[in-house]
């Protein structure tokens, strides 16, 4: 076993905590503080990445490690599963830190000191890293959770002159403390377990309990992590408020990675805290319950997202919806892992879908928040009723936002496609063996059409159509943001495109995760026969059934090639007639001119559908 894993992890954490002490001293020089913060986060990120890569390239799951800290014993465990989250947090935190340098110089923040901001930023990252590496539900968990929660609370209420923002932040803090209490209670109530008991021991003890108490304890842990992840109905209580009022880079971190720590907890609860001595049918009930919650979350979250006119609220509700897909996939995988071995291949596909969607969502949702942030930076508003026509004014941001928007909608060859494909295929192919999951799959498909509608609206009303020229104060010139804010978005766009076009890379990564983790997923799914059903090639990913026939495939590169050839033909046809092109103003039936009063607002769009879906809540200006 590689001995550098835990030292590198600790070095990274020490750098972040050290930066939290030093950077605030430089806060009066805004750009310098931003650069120091960036350097610290990148340096720490490199240590985390080195630790993660060591784990993932290792021969098997590494041993856990007991950190002695001021008389406390904190068990740490970085297996393949944690390593991926380490990498994800390291990448997004570094990119967002780069974005912060430019964004925090926004005119609106002129009178705010950045001291608190640059104290909280690295400590927040350290908290998230700690949360995905501690291996208990008590001492280490408490330290990590509180580091993450308290600092993110201060980051959310950064713009504290607005009482609405302070109220949202307070609500966030309160609910996260409840979630902490729920998980902590679950960890301490298990007989024979106390402060600092490692997770595998808790799981063993849970196996010896009677059903009632076990269900209660698992449910408590599940509620706690579900609250963090944004599960229905708990997510609706805090998520849209908190995510929409935080500074945009912080929103990107909240949606992109902080929600994923909740998902991390859910997966740990469902697959690591459920001992194999538990009866199979009880585990299947858990899978079913989680899948139902996932379906409700994805449907309700997305339909609420469709109704929003505030760009950041829209993104926040959409995060709930996308998290719903992940929860559905986790639940389906848990259910399929039952005694029916024929379903195990689908369990593999479902958990692969969850894994891919965690990575894809982290990238495209961060990107969307950064784009909305850029729009807010330059226009001063995030109200879709006031925006419009930015494509001509900030074309690079517009194209980047377009890629992110079609990625979240799951358009073929972009990153959301393969993950949603895996989740939907895993539910549909179950057929008669798990009938209700087919219905879940249909609902997931309906929902992805609603996601598309949501992002067509966001994109259309921000970047195309018209409006912004009438709704910004005259002295602010709307223009493309600087290179410092474009660079991080371009980096994320590159990753997003890579995820879309080369899903096989991430399927291979998933294979390493299984190989370097312990637990039921590895024991049941990482068998050669099952892994053989999932073939990855350069063109994409295919799933075959027991007899070796391919039954589902996602081949983005082929699709892109087809589309390009067809597009070239279409372009040829368009020019074949030799028609002339002329610019002319829009024609509004002769007697109207284009102005702010003659505009179709974002809040009017899908009006009939929004009324039809009124029962799902989250209505705006009803």
């Amino acid at each position: 076993m590689d001995t550098t894993i835990y030292p590198h992890l600790q070095t990274g954490l020490a750098i972040l905590l050290g930066a939290g002490l030093i950077t605030p001293l430089l806060a009066s020089k805004r750009q310098l503080a931003g650069i120091v913060n960036l350097l610290a986060v990148v340096l720490a990120g490199l240590f985390f990445a080195s630790s993660a890569i060591n784990v993932l390239s290792g021969p098997g799951a590494p041993a856990s490690f007991d950190l002695q800290l001021a008389g406390l014993t904190i068990p740490l465990l970085v297996d393949g599963f944690s390593a991926v989250f380490l990498l994800l947090i390291a990448v997004i935190a570094s990119v967002v830190a780069l974005y912060c340098i430019g964004y925090m110089q926004m005119a609106h923040y002129r009178h705010y000191s950045l001291r608190g901001f640059y104290f909280c930023y690295p400590v927040f990252i350290a908290g998230m890293i700690a949360l995905v590496t501690v291996d208990d539900l008590s001492t280490g968990f408490t330290i990590a959770w509180q580091l993450m929660t308290l600092t993110s609370f201060w980051l959310i209420r950064f713009d504290h002159h607005d009482p609405v923002i302070v109220r949202s932040a307070n609500k966030y803090l309160l609910l996260m403390q409840l979630a902490w209490a729920a998980v902590l209670t679950a960890g301490l109530l298990v007989p024979g377990c106390g402060w600092g008991t490692p997770l595998h021991y808790i799981a063993e003890q849970l196996g010896t309990l009677d059903v009632g108490l076990r269900t209660l304890l698992l449910a408590l842990a599940f509620l706690g992590f579900g609250m963090k992840a944004g599960m229905f109905p708990l997510g609706q209580l805090w998520l849209p408020d908190a995510h929409s009022v935080a500074p945009s880079p912080i929103s990107a971190l909240l949606s992109g990675v902080m929600l994923k720590t909740g998902i991390y907890g859910l997966i740990r609860t469902l697959f690591w805290m459920t001992p194999e001595s538990m009866p199979a049918h009880e585990l299947q009930y858990w899978g079913m319950a989680v899948a139902v919650i996932g379906v409700v979350t994805l449907f309700i979250g997305t339909s609420q997202s469709l109704k929003q006119v505030d760009a950041k609220r829209l993104n926040a509700y959409s995060s709930i919806g996308q998290i719903g897909y992940i929860i559905l996939a986790i639940g389906a995988a848990r259910y399929y892992l039952g005694p029916n071995a024929a379903l195990h291949a689908l369990a593999l596909l479902a958990i692969l879908g969850a894994f891919l969607h965690v990575l894809n969502h982290a990238i495209f949702k961060s990107l969307l928040f950064l784009c909305v942030g850029s729009v807010q930076y330059t226009t001063g508003t995030k109200d879709l009723d006031k925006l419009g026509g930015l494509f001509a004014l900030m074309p690079i941001t517009a194209i980047i936002a377009g890629i992110a928007a079609i990625a979240v909608s799951g358009v073929p060859a972009f990153s959301g496609f393969t993950s949603k494909w895996a989740i939907v295929a895993a539910t549909l192919l179950s057929g008669k063996a798990a009938g209700i999951f087919v219905i879940f799959g249909v609902i997931a498909l309906v929902t992805s059409a609603m996601t598309l509608a949501t992002y067509v609206k966001l994109y259309g009303m921000t970047f195309t159509s018209v409006g912004v020229e009438w709704n910004t104060d005259g002295n602010a010139k709307v223009q493309e943001v600087g290179k410092l804010m474009l660079a991080p978005k371009l980096l994320l766009t590159a990753i997003c495109l890579l995820q879309g076009l080369c899903p096989w890379l991430f399927v291979a990564l998933f294979g390493r995760v299984l190989a370097t983790s312990e637990g039921v997923l590895t024991h049941t799914l990482a068998t050669p026969a099952l892994l053989a059903t999932l073939s990855e090639r350069y063109a994409g990913v295919a799933v075959s059934n027991a007899s070796g026939t391919a039954v589902a495939f996602s081949l983005p590169l082929v699709m892109v090639a087809l589309l390009v050839v067809a597009g070239l033909f279409a372009r040829w046809l368009k020019h074949a007639g030799g028609a002339q092109t002329r610019q002319a103003p829009v024609w509004l039936c002769g007697y109207q001119t284009l102005n702010n009063a003659n505009r179709y607002l974002s809040s009017h769009i899908f009006d009939a559908f929004k009324k039809f879906m009124k029962w799902t809540g989250g209505n705006v200006r009803a």
């Binding site: 494509f391 001509a392 074309p395 909608s409 358009v411 073929p412 496609f417 494909w421 939907v424 549909l428 057929g431 008669k432 009938g435 087919v438 219905i439 249909v442 498909l445 309906v446 059409a449 609603m450 598309l452 509608a453 067509v456 994109y459 259309g460 009303m461 195309t464 159509s465 063109a539 059934n545 039954v551 589902a552 495939f553 996602s554 081949l555 699709m559 087809l562 589309l563 067809a566 597009g567 033909f569 279409a570 046809l573 368009k574 007639g577 030799g578 028609a579 092109t581 002329r582 610019q583 002319a584 829009v586 024609w587 505009r599 179709y600 009017h604 769009i605 009939a608 559908f609 039809f612």
Partner: protein, 308 residues
């Protein structure tokens, strides 16, 4: 589940044949609808090839760009290209093309969505209120109708346990669909006008009130591409239930199967023409309720197929 293994070259010829059949026949089928409508209204009606002439004429006419931004120019190209891809992967008359093995039923549905996205992109780029109203209605219709189409395919998925297109469309003999199959045929008949965006479900274009909706600012070659896209899409949606539910002849002659399917598709177009000439347009809120009911019936059929 492909009927026979053919020489690889042949499967590429098949792609061209698919495209040729659709590109050549889609305007003619559109002509049928126009002709039927005219007859119902006691008019002579245009010749069957009129829609061809329209596209050719539009290709040569002046292209007026009211926005000057890329999405506006790109939208018709994406829409047309996405539909060509759908046709290229479609196993026409039971025979897989070279590309059928690269896309499953989920990919097909998402490709169809891409065409819709392109229409919306163009509409939103248009800066025109009517285009936006049309886009809003088009998207609403898409949300409700696309899942219904998918559930028709899903019946085949459930029977064969595969998402492979040849298996989904041709893998199950009609009788094996049983009661859910009968319900789904009814659903596809009642959803037909919505699939092809004809009256009473042409709220998005609604010439009399929205003057073409999403396409209002388009002219010349751009509009020609959109028109061709709409005709191809219409033919695809009319063809799909035929392919799903009418068994192949089993004579082994590909052309006989193809001819039968196309004749039946023409009959479907007669029906489309009759229905659209005799039904007034729904309001969008009425249409949503109609689709809602249709959706629930289709979902019930799927549930029955899972249980039975």
């Amino acid at each position: 589940m492909t009927t026979a293994t053919l020489h690889p070259i042949w499967s590429y010829v098949q792609v061209l044949l698919n495209l040729l059949v659709f590109l050549a026949l889609a305007p003619l089928f559109d002509g049928i609808v126009r002709r039927v409508t005219a007859r119902v209204q006691s008019r002579q009606g245009p010749p069957l090839v009129q829609s061809f002439y329209d596209v050719l004429k539009l290709l040569g006419k002046e292209n007026i760009d009211s926005t000057g931004i890329l999405p506006f120019r790109l939208a018709p190209v994406i829409a047309f290209a996405s539909m060509l891809c759908v046709i290229a992967i479609l196993p026409l008359a039971g025979r897989a093309t070279a590309f059928t093995a690269y896309a499953d039923a989920i990919s097909l549905v998402y490709l169809l969505t891409l065409g819709g996205v392109a229409v919306l992109l163009g509409a939103f780029a248009s800066k025109n209120i009517y285009a936006l109203i049309g886009a809003s209605r088009e998207m609403t219709t898409m949300i409700m109708v696309e899942p219904i189409l998918f559930m028709i395919l899903l019946l085949g998925v459930l029977k064969t346990g595969s998402l492979d297109l040849s298996a989904v469309i041709y893998g199950t003999p009609m009788a094996a669909f049983g009661l859910p199959g009968m319900v789904m045929i009814a659903v596809s008949l009642f959803g037909l006008q919505a699939f092809v965006a004809r009256q009473p479900f042409d709220m998005a274009e609604a010439e009399q009130e929205l003057l073409g909706g999403p396409f209002i600012e388009y002219s010349g070659p751009n509009y020609a591409l959109f028109k061709y896209y709409m005709m191809l899409k219409q033919m695809f949606y009319a063809y799909l239930p035929i392919a799903m539910f009418v068994p192949l002849l089993g004579t082994g002659f590909y052309l006989a199967d193809l001819a039968l399917q196309l004749v039946l598709t023409a009959v479907v177009f007669l029906l489309i023409g009759l229905l659209s000439a005799t039904h007034p347009r729904y309001r969008i809120d009425q249409a949503i309720r109609y689709f809602g009911v249709l959706f629930l019936i289709a979902l019930a059929a799927i549930a029955a197929a899972v249980v039975l």
